[in-house]
């Protein structure tokens, strides 16, 4: 174990590079589904304007932790979350925080693209409408156009905005869903295996998009592809059996992981 890494509550924290502002700070997070504990004492500080990858074997709690950040676990009856999660210093589990507004600040993109059964236009316009972000039709048009442009989809759909969202290809649908997330001007974007159903070209497009979004957002991506985590993220968190085992700069995690479990997982050895 190198001296420069810091071990707290069983997690190895590598020294962070540079001084990124902390966007999401979790401290002592436990999650139970009924009486089964899915996350144990997770503490991590996630930087703004960067991509953080969550990796780890199936069932280790990546999605569970991701759902803590926009309180999606509230929607699961048996789920109980304790500990502190702050965004820009504000405790999101406070009763005063409206989960609907929180989810506008913290957008989410799922493994399977899930466009609403509506037109391409309405998919993107939906959020701005319900949050009252546009006062005129012109303004709404412009939000839809910018969001589709940021998501790299505009050129492919500009002439068919009235067609149903699910008439697009899988990769296009995933970019549509990203456009929908961006349209409400979020601060944090959570992505749960966003490329697992896409071919290499569509994957490369999404990865390029993630890299561009990094300039303005705090992105957190769950992925089972080590290569993808290595390509798109600056920081990587490795989870194992509900514990955060190791957290640090992606380059460090992939060239010199400190914990044996991290090493075994990313090199494909028996745990």
């Amino acid at each position: 174990m190198a001296e420069d890494a810091n071990v707290k509550a069983g997690t190895v924290y590598h020294p962070a590079e540079g001084n990124r502002k902390v966007k999401v700070a979790a401290s002592g997070v436990d999650v139970f589904y009924a009486d089964k504990q899915a996350l144990h004492d997770v503490s991590v500080e996630i930087g703004d304007r960067a991509v953080t990858a969550f990796i780890g074997p199936s069932g280790c709690g990546k999605s569970t932790f991701l759902r803590c950040i926009n309180r999606m676990n509230d929607t699961i009856d048996t789920a109980r979350v304790s500990g502190s999660i702050r965004i820009d210093g504000e405790e999101i589990n406070d009763r005063s925080v409206d989960p609907v507004l929180l989810r506008a600040r913290v957008g989410m993109v799922f493994q399977k693209p899930n466009p609403f059964p509506k037109s391409i236009f309405d998919n993107v316009a939906y959020g701005p409408r319900i949050h009252g972000l546009a006062v005129s039709k012109d303004e709404l048009d412009s939000i839809v156009e910018t969001s589709l442009k940021k998501a790299g989809l505009w050129d492919e759909v500009a002439d068919r905005l009235d067609q149903p969202g699910n008439s697009l290809s899988g990769g296009q649908q995933q970019r549509l869903v990203i456009a929908r997330a961006i349209a409400v001007n979020p601060e944090v974007i959570l992505m749960d295996e966003p490329c697992s159903a896409l071919d290499p070209i569509a994957t490369a497009r999404i990865e390029e998009l993630i890299d561009e979004l990094r300039e303005n957002y705090c992105l957190i991506i769950v992925t089972h592809s080590m290569a993808q985590a290595a390509r798109v993220s600056q920081m990587t968190a490795f989870f194992h059996l509900g514990h955060l085992v190791e957290f640090g700069p992606t380059e460090e995690i992939f060239t010199n992981p400190r914990d044996r479990r991290t090493q075994d997982y990313i090199t494909g050895r028996f745990g």
């Binding site: 190198a2 080590m226 290569a227 290595a230 992939f254 060239t255 010199n256 992981p257 044996r260 991290t262 090493q263 075994d264 990313i266 090199t267 494909g268 050895r269 028996f270």
Partner: protein, 235 residues
């Protein structure tokens, strides 16, 4: 090489390929060391046949190096090694390159030895041999460290690198004095000088290998500011 991670890959062929790679580098290391050793024997025994043998066996090192490079390119493309596996691959690539250079230097020494054997023996051959054995010892230790993953030996060599430089500097001065006193030995003296320089370079490659082994095993780099011996402006 024994890496910090024991245990096998879930894909067994991956483990086998990495073991094969390490074995190839170890073979190359054994051959390179024997070339240096035989080149030194050839100087000591004034044995031109042995020197010729060194020259010929160097070709095998080149073949081995190309084979190792092919193995590594294949591993990178098909297995996408990470963490200690990645370090093992990169270490093999670098060490193979150092060993190939060491072979060239041994070959050059052997060529000069054949020239030297045409002339009267020089007193300073003994000092050359001592320096050579020191360098050969360093090479042996770093190759052992590579094979075992025990970095103690590699660290030792890395720290003692200036022993070789000191030997070289002393030899350099002595040879200059001898050549100044007796112009008839300028020809063979020049060969000895180059042989000494080549041995010093072999020592540098052994130091490189020590650094690479340390990185492969620990994941951290040795600091670049290695203590350097007093330089006297020798080339």
């Amino acid at each position: 090489m024994t890496t910090p991670v024991q245990g096998h890959h879930i894909v067994r062929a991956f483990s086998e390929e990495l073991e094969q790679l390490t074995a190839s580098v170890a073979t190359m290391g054994g051959l390179a060391e024997s070339l240096v050793s035989d080149a030194l024997d050839a100087i000591a025994a004034r044995d031109s046949d042995l020197a010729l043998d060194v020259i010929q066996r160097d070709k095998r090192l080149d073949t081995l190096q190309r084979d190792i490079e092919r193995q590594i390119i294949r591993l990178l493309a098909l297995r996408q090694p990470l963490a200690s596996d990645l370090r093992v691959c990169i270490a093999a690539l670098k060490i193979a390159a150092d060993l190939e250079r060491i072979g060239d230097l041994a070959k050059n020494i052997a060529r000069r030895t054949r020239e030297l054997n045409e002339a009267e023996p020089l007193a300073l051959s003994k000092s050359i041999e001592r320096m050579g054995r020191l360098v050969q010892g360093h090479l042996h230790e770093v190759l052992d460290a590579y094979a075992s993953g025990e970095i103690g030996g590699a660290l030792g060599v890395w720290q003692r690198d200036d022993d070789v430089d000191e030997h070289y500097n002393t030899l350099f001065r002595e040879l200059l004095v001898c050549m100044a006193e007796d112009p008839h030995i300028v020809g063979p003296g020049a060969h000895l000088l180059f042989i000494a320089k080549n041995l010093e370079r072999v020592g540098d490659h052994a130091t490189n290998i020590a650094e690479v082994v340390h990185y492969a095993v620990t994941g951290t780099e040795l600091l670049a500011d290695r203590p350097k011996g007093g330089s006297s402006g020798t080339p």
